[in-house]
């Protein structure tokens, strides 16, 4: 390329007026072995700029498919928990069934049944007794409250 053209391009370049194509021409000119001596000072500049393109990034990227492991972990945990509970339940079930005693002698069975029923009714009576007490107390306080509230209403 003619020296004059290059000098013109250089001036345009330093004014920020060159196009990409013109800048390519400049780089090409300064990469050639026969650069005019008076332009020698610009050779490193264009050499450096062209050389920079060679730099590469080739570090591996730590890309992993971002999955929601948390969600699946909780599902797995609940499955395990449920399974555990079921096994425990199944293990305890037969133990309860084994406890039901049986009697061979009818008389003994009769006595034992009576004993059991007596115990039951005694306990029921105890319960009834305390329920009666509670009912009494309840009625007392109910009377107090309703009397007061009716008095209150009358005053209004």
């Amino acid at each position: 390329m003619e020296l004059q053209t290059i000098e013109k391009l250089l001036n345009k370049y330093f004014d920020g007026e060159t196009t990409i194509a013109e800048e390519k021409d400049l780089k090409l000119y300064f990469s050639s072995p026969d650069v005019a001596p008076q332009l020698e000072q610009y050779r490193p500049l264009f050499g450096y700029l062209s050389n920079q393109e060679q730099q590469r990034f080739d570090k591996p990227l730590p890309l992993k498919a971002k999955r929601n492991y948390g969600k699946w972990l909780s599902v797995a945990a609940s499955v395990v928990l449920l399974g555990g509970m079921l096994t425990l339940y199944n293990l305890q079930q037969p133990a309860q069934n084994d406890d039901l005693g049986t009697f061979n002698d009818p008389e003994v069975a009769y006595r034992e049944t009576q004993k059991a029923l007596n115990m039951l009714s005694k306990n029921v009576n105890v319960g009834v007794g305390s329920v009666q007490y509670v009912t009494g107390e309840y009625n007392k306080s109910k009377d107090v409250i309703f009397k007061e509230s009716s008095n209150h209403n009358q005053k209004k």
Partner: protein
């Protein structure tokens, strides 16, 4: 978007992200970390990428912001940028030592430029972006980009001329 789709999207510009980061952060390691950071950020938001007209411009903007933040926090903690990687250029670039020396000069002069000019010079003279793209990434208007670019180039010219004539007077 799976991993290989994503790689196809980023492959054309991942080196540019790295080079811009290196221009600003100087150290290769830090630039690599920054690039990784930005690409992983893009990957984590891969669902939204399709809504951007240019993922490359987005990535460059992210790089600019990320690196400027890095520099700001570094300055705040008064850490100095240590760069000792001028010498470990890519193997296979069997250039003349003389050339490398003068390239190092250019690099050092570029380091003294303000960040904005550094980025614009990098994007224009290395990555060959159009002014329109640079304006978008830098969030400036095209005229301001041209002015900053011209200033950066003129500073380089001035410094290089100084170095050049210094060399001559010493010989």
């Amino acid at each position: 978007m799976n991993q290989s789709d994503f790689m196809n999207v980023i492959t054309p510009f991942k080196d540019r992200v790295f080079r811009l980061a290196k221009r600003l952060l100087v150290s290769t390691e830090e630039a690599e970390d920054a690039t990784q950071e930005i690409l992983v950020k893009l990957w984590n938001n891969k669902g939204k990428l399709e809504s951007y007209s240019s993922v490359e411009a987005l990535a460059m903007t992210m790089t600019k912001n990320y690196c400027l933040d890095q520099l700001k926090s570094k300055r705040a903690s008064e850490m100095r940028i240590v760069h000792n990687n001028y010498t470990d250029r890519q193997a296979g670039l069997q250039q003349q030592t003389e050339d490398r020396d003068s390239w190092n000069w250019v690099e050092k002069i570029m380091e003294t430029l303000p960040e904005q000019q550094k980025m614009i010079l990098q994007m224009r003279d290395v990555e060959q972006y159009e002014f329109e793209e640079i304006a978008k990434i830098m969030d400036m208007n095209e005229t301001a980009v041209r002015v900053a670019l011209s200033r950066a180039r003129k500073t380089l010219r001035e410094e290089l001329t100084k170095t050049h004539s210094y060399g001559i007077t010493n010989n």
